[in-house]
Subunit: 193 residues, 2 copies
Amino acid sequence: MIYDLLIENITKNREVSIAEAEKFCSFFNDKTISKKEFLLKQGEFCKFEAFVTEGCFRVFSLDKKGNENTLYFAAKDWWLMDIDSFMNHKPSDLNIQALEDSKILIISQEDKSNLYNELPMAEKFFRIMFQKSIVAWQRRVVRNNSLTAKERYNYFTTHYPEIVLKLTDRQMASYLGITHEFLSKIKKRDKKQ
Amino acid sequence: MIYDLLIENITKNREVSIAEAEKFCSFFNDKTISKKEFLLKQGEFCKFEAFVTEGCFRVFSLDKKGNENTLYFAAKDWWLMDIDSFMNHKPSDLNIQALEDSKILIISQEDKSNLYNELPMAEKFFRIMFQKSIVAWQRRVVRNNSLTAKERYNYFTTHYPEIVLKLTDRQMASYLGITHEFLSKIKKRDKKQ
DNA sequence: AAAAATAGTTGAACAAGTTCAACTCGATCA
DNA sequence: TGATCGAGTTGAACTTGTTCAACTATTTTT
């Protein structure tokens, strides 16, 4: 069933009844996105939140010099959204692109609001999800400030081996905050040893 | 009244009754912390969340080489906690130290749990607060990856001038992710122009 | 008021990471 | 089949930021 993964995600480590989980899911529609297709482009309003059930996405912004900066990758079982644009009803700074043919469960802005109103557990669920997300972002900041590029590369490849397989070096470099040329040199040094 | 600032914080841009706001506050106790005192030390369990009503704090971790890495500063009207330790009941990686004589409103782990159970608006309030926090962390990651040290310094000093006044250069450098020597050189170049 | 600790400054040598340009290698497409 | 396009590789010169050490304020403690 298309909702299996989402049900598992929301019930994991939580006291949630089957009825609640099913009601939760009923607010989501499934959608297919082809490789390279954009789910969101910079400047558009992000009017959805999504849960990835298949495939992988890249969330990135473009800086003044035109360099891509990858905020995160979202594979199966990850949530996908531009919180800022969604919450504050403003044009997005982010691009969301499918790295391969993918499937998501998507909820509109209106239904998200209904979900919160009709299902009290949704508030707690997303509150806890956001807390976890903050922990992850804090750790990322610390890693970026205290580790060398080589160390960040090692961290990423050992912690997200499945995602690494789906990426080009350029995409990984834009996540690590280095140029793809330098990533290539890091990998070369690796092989020699 | 000691709760004035907290009441303003939780009612701002929200539909919250006075009764709710007062009940919310009743879970918090005020506490005074002297300059340089630690509210939390690495290795301890963070069993509180706090709201700063006066003064300023620094939240930082120590990496393997012994370098300090400042996650954020919390002045008046900011929230203060180690989410990871508090949520997952594990020893903290963070240190929280007062930069000057300060006052906070503090809530224990047990009361936080009671607050969520007894006051439904608390879930929504913290859910939205955490969403905003994620946006801020995402922007910080992008800045750290796409701006030079000089540009990050300019960003920080123009966006947080009141906090800058309370910091030593070493503390600011540990937030910007550079050495204090290099910060000194950045400031010198600034003056010449 | 003196002593001791801590914070900021500066320079020289060094390391980490970027830039640009040239090249190679596959994949895809006409 | 060739042409083309994007991805990865490599080197040389360059820029950004670090390290270490010595020095100078400035606070804090006694």
